[in-house]
Structures are given as C-alpha cells and as structure tokens.
C-alpha cells in the first residue's frame, strides 16, 4: 500500500457529492461506491488516490466510511477539507438517525409500533450476526492458522477471564502487530 505524497491540488471541493453519499446510501460499501462514481468516473480524482484512501481507511480505527470521507476531503482541500468532509459524513446521517430515534421514542407506546420494532429487532439481530461472518471470513482466509489461533485465544479470554472487552482488543492488537504483520 503506498499513498500519493503530492500536496492537495486546487480542485473544487465536492461538498454536494459528500452530502449525497452520506444522506442517500446505507452502509459503507454503497456510500463508497457512490463517491467513486461521482469523483473518479467524472475525472475529478485519480483512481489511485481513491483506492489508496479506501485502503488506508480499512486500517484506521473507527468507522471506515468516515475515514474515507476524511482522506478524500484532504485530497481536495487539505485539513480543512478533511474536517469538512468528516463533519458532513458524520452529522448528516446522524441527524436522520436522531429523527428516526425521536419518532421511535414518540410512538413506542403504540401497540403496532411496539410490535413492528420487536420485528425490526429480530431483523437487526440477523444483520448483526451476519456482520460477524462477513467480517471474520476474509481475515481467516488471509491469516489461516494464525487467524484461527487468535480467534480461539480471544474466545478463551472472553469466556474464562473477567477481562473488559477493550483489554481483550488491546491484547489482540499487540499479538497481531507481532504475529500477523503482512507487507502489502
């Protein structure tokens, strides 16, 4: 993985594209695909710069999509662009989510709304469980024996020792830096 080192060029900042990606698409994959279409396929950003932002975002803690917004914003307008893109990427969907949460809180006493949310929770459990498989599979395919060993160590720590989850993740991170380091 290598990253372009040139300073950001003077290009028009794609504010509308960031707003559109953050307000119309569910999940990182859909939003990233929309940004690629709007920025790369229109010739406003080289493919390499987009791909590198995507790759670096994958190893950045937190939400990958917000890291993509930050890095793409930086490519267009340096730190101010990064912070603007990050703000748009976080606050626009947050506003929509809070609106839905307020609606839920307002109508949660209604029997139909309550039952609908119970159904939605069962659906969300499916989404959450599928996310485990979707995230774990490529890591195990890449790291095989070491990846499986690390998963078993984590499971043992989680089930047998009263360690907080963040301590388990820190231990895993240290083990990964030592044993899973892969040059790309």
């Amino acid at each position: 993985m290598s990253v372009h080192t040139q300073t950001p060029r003077h290009r028009p900042f794609p504010l509308l594209e960031f707003i559109r990606a953050s307000s119309l698409h569910v999940g990182a994959a859909a939003a990233a695909a929309a940004l690629r279409k709007d920025l790369v396929e229109t010739g406003r950003l080289p493919t390499g710069e987009f791909d590198e932002a995507y790759a670096v975002a994958r190893v950045t803690p937190g939400t990958n999509l917000l890291a993509i917004y930050t890095l793409l914003g930086e490519r267009f307008a340096g730190w101010p662009g990064a912070l603007t893109a990050l703000s748009v990427g976080a606050l626009v969907p947050a506003l929509i989510a809070v609106t839905l949460a307020v609606a839920y809180s307002t109508y949660s006493g209604h029997p139909v709304a309550r039952d609908a949310m119970q159904g939605a929770r069962a659906g969300a459990l499916a989404v959450f469980s599928w996310a485990v498989v979707r995230l774990l599979r490529p890591q195990i395919e890449q790291h095989r024996g070491r990846g499986i060993a690390l998963a078993l160590v984590t499971l043992t720590l989680a089930l047998l020792l009263p360690l907080p989850p963040f301590v388990i993740l820190l231990i895993a991170g240290g083990l990964g830096a030592a044993f899973l380091s892969v040059k790309s």
Binding site: L86, A90, Q118, A120, L125, V127, L169, G176
Partner: protein, 170 residues
C-alpha cells in the same frame, strides 16, 4: 448521564473497533452491564433504527447517545463516531513511510478479536431481540437472506418490522 462522560466512553469503544458493529460488545459492557443506563432492548432497537437510516453501520452509536442522554448525548455520540477518523491522516503518513505492516497486523487481529466478541454478544442479545419462536425464525430467515448476498440489510430490517405485528401475536 453526562454527555462528556458518554463521549469518552463511546470514543473508547469506537477507537478500538474497525467496523461499525465491532464496538457493540464494548458499548454493551460499559452502558448495559457496568452503568445500567441502557437496556439490551434499547441496544437492539438502536441497531434496528440505524439500519433503516443512511450512513455508516456505526451510526447506531448516535441512537444510543440519544437514548442515554437525549440530543446532547446524540451529539456527543456523533463526535465519538467521527473522532477516530482523524487518525486516518497520520496513518496515511505512516503508510507513506512504509510502516504499514505492524499497523495492518494489529488491525487484522483487532478485527478477528472483535468478531469473536461480537459473536458472544450476539448470543447475549438474542433473547431480547427474538424472545419467541416465530421471531427467532424471522431472525434465522433474515440471516439466510443476507448470506445469499441478494438482500441488503435495510430490506431485512424493514421487512422484519412489517412482519413484527403479525409474528408477535402468534
């Protein structure tokens, strides 16, 4: 709960995760188990609501912020969600200096460990999310639909919400 305390709790969870839902086990430990300011039912609801909203998967954190501390809590949560992304720029610079091997190894390990913690959390959340056999069946069907690769998560959540009033009466 004070919004500033909530910000730091959520920041610790988001900064130690590499995908939207990977922070669920940490947030559950802090807010449901340790401080009892959130219930498993609200945690499940937050995940469901975020799935019906555009934006990153981790957006459920904002709904949790709202449930715990109202609008200031939601704002604190949005900040906690956004703060780790700032690290992307120094990480990109580290990558330029070809120090990405350890960064990639650590992040891969944290993803693997997060998945294991998510799996155990999923088992813990199941009784509140699918308390009856019909709802458990709905969750299983939703999982199979997602595994087929043809149905997006938002469709699973919306269809489940539509079926909820019928299935809860069975």
């Amino acid at each position: 709960m004070n919004a500033l305390v909530l910000y730091f709790l959520l920041l610790r969870a988001t900064a130690l995760s590499f995908s939207g839902f990977a922070s669920v086990p940490l947030i559950r430990e802090d807010l449901v188990v340790q401080r009892a300011v959130l219930s498993d039912e609200e945690l499940n609801s937050a995940i469901a609501i975020s799935q019906a909203s555009p934006g990153p998967l981790g957006l459920y954190v904002v709904v949790i912020g709202y449930f715990v501390a109202g609008v200031p809590g939601a704002f604190a949560a949005a900040l906690a969600l956004a703060t780790p992304a700032i690290l992307a720029i120094p990480i990109a610079r580290a990558v330029r200096r070809h120090r990405d091997a350890q960064v990639r190894g650590a992040s891969a390990a944290i993803v693997i460990a997060s998945c294991v913690l998510m799996a155990t959390t999923s088992v813990t959340l199941a009784p509140a999310a699918a308390p009856t056999a019909p709802l458990a069946a709905l969750a299983v069907v939703g999982f199979v639909a997602l595994a087929s690769g043809r149905v997006p998560p938002v469709v699973v959540v919306v269809v489940s919400a539509c079926l909820g009033p019928f299935l809860t009466r069975l």
